[in-house]
Amino acid sequence: MKSTNTFLQINPYPLIGLLYFFLGLMIIVFLFIMFFSFYKRKLEKRKKFWEEAISSVISQVIFYEEDGQSQMETKVDEKLLQNSNFRQYFIDEIIHAKKNLFGAPVSNLKKLYNLLKFDKDSLQKIHSTKWYIKAKGIQELSIMEQVQFVKEIFRLTNDSDELVRNEAQCALVNFYGFKGFRFLNVIVHPISQWQQIQLLNYLHDAKTTDPEQLKKWLASKNESVVTLALRLAGFYNSFEVYNEVIQCLQHPDQQVKLNALMYLKKISPDDTAEKIINCYNFSDRTVKLAILSVLEEIGNEKQVSFLLKQLHDNDDTIKLASAKTLSCLHPMGKAFFQTHLFADQNPWKAIFSQIENERAA
């Protein structure tokens, strides 16, 4: 009886208020979803319309010379061309088409890009204060091969933002190949390993190289410039810088030493192996392993006594690497394993059998 009274005493108004609140909230959410889906559909419809208009223009322009037109004509709505979103969409589509095509259509796409003054849009982007807009602008100018803006792009190769300067460096190499690397003369920031690989991917010309420039970069105080110069020397098989590369084996930076070894693996006159051995004792473990690996490729019987000494290094990985190289350079080949004094003792026994198994596989 008492509990029934308590129940009757509960004030229902806050509950009703709460009910109205949630009902109102539901209506607002519903209206928001309706509005959002309507807006999204409108955007999609607009995108579809733009896509239709742009693809018609581009596909016509690609073959305009075949149609006997002396001048490129584009039938694009002037009003649409004043819309910055449309212009950006158009630029994106041209760039996308350029990536999928080659030959005459590509030069026609470039003509269209310039005819509609999209180069000015891209140029405007590189003067933006936001890094991602700047980077996009450089990328557009690079893909569309707008060499006339090289001055503006060159300045950005030393930008404080890493992504901006990466794009600018790629653009220069894309424009000029090896000559585009002249930014290495002025760069103060380090160039990441990834960026170095990217830059090499942009190299199209395997013919032209300037050994004097390479020598200058190999002596740079910026270690990443030296590393990149070593990669370039290897890429161009530049024998002229051989002595400078040998000097790099004394460099304090590990990456410089490793890249010098990569070069010497490709370009190695007779006494190279001996020169490499001379820097062995001053190197860290990674470089030592790299040296042993390079010797496997370029060494000869003269290095056998050096390698036999390394078989007694404290580090088992170095023992293994030495044994592998020995099995290639020793006059007896892998048969020398049986003649070795410690062939029956571990770790040599295990190392020798591992190499034999690897070779057999």
Partner: protein, 125 residues
């Protein structure tokens, strides 16, 4: 020759269509794999040019559909992006006749189609 072009990128689709129409072919286009499979039944093309990566059904599924149909006269050219060698090999195993890697020249495509056009005429004779 009746050609079906299955390509989801509008610009590429229109470019290929225009190139082939200039060469005097009868071209039908579609933007996804499912639509392409339907169109094969409807128009019975002599040649299909299909992209590999497409919505709803891939280029490989289109090849399978053609082979299921059992019409050996339908030739198939596959459009693939760089680095899709494994997919191209799979396409050949399924029965594709040729492939073109993007980026490509529309004129190169035209020449390849012309080769099949000659083949078709020979078969007809």
């Amino acid at each position: 020759m009746k050609i079906l072009v299955a390509e989801d990128e509008m610009i590429m689709q229109k470019t290929i269509e225009l190139r082939l129409k200039k060469d005097g072919h009868e071209v039908t286009t579609c933007s996804d794999g499912r639509e392409a499979i339907q169109k094969i039944e409807e128009i019975n093309p002599d040649l299909i040019i299909t992209d590999i990566m497409m919505p709803f059904a891939s280029g490989l599924e289109i090849i399978e559909a053609v082979k299921r149909k059992g019409d050996k006269n339908i030739r198939i050219i596959v459009l693939s992006a760089m680095g899709q060698e494994n997919v191209v090999l799979e396409a050949f195993q399924l029965g594709a006749d040729d492939y073109i890697t993007k980026p490509f020249s529309p004129n190169e495509l035209s020449m390849r189609v012309k080769r099949y056009s000659v083949d078709t005429k020979e078969v007809t004779i």
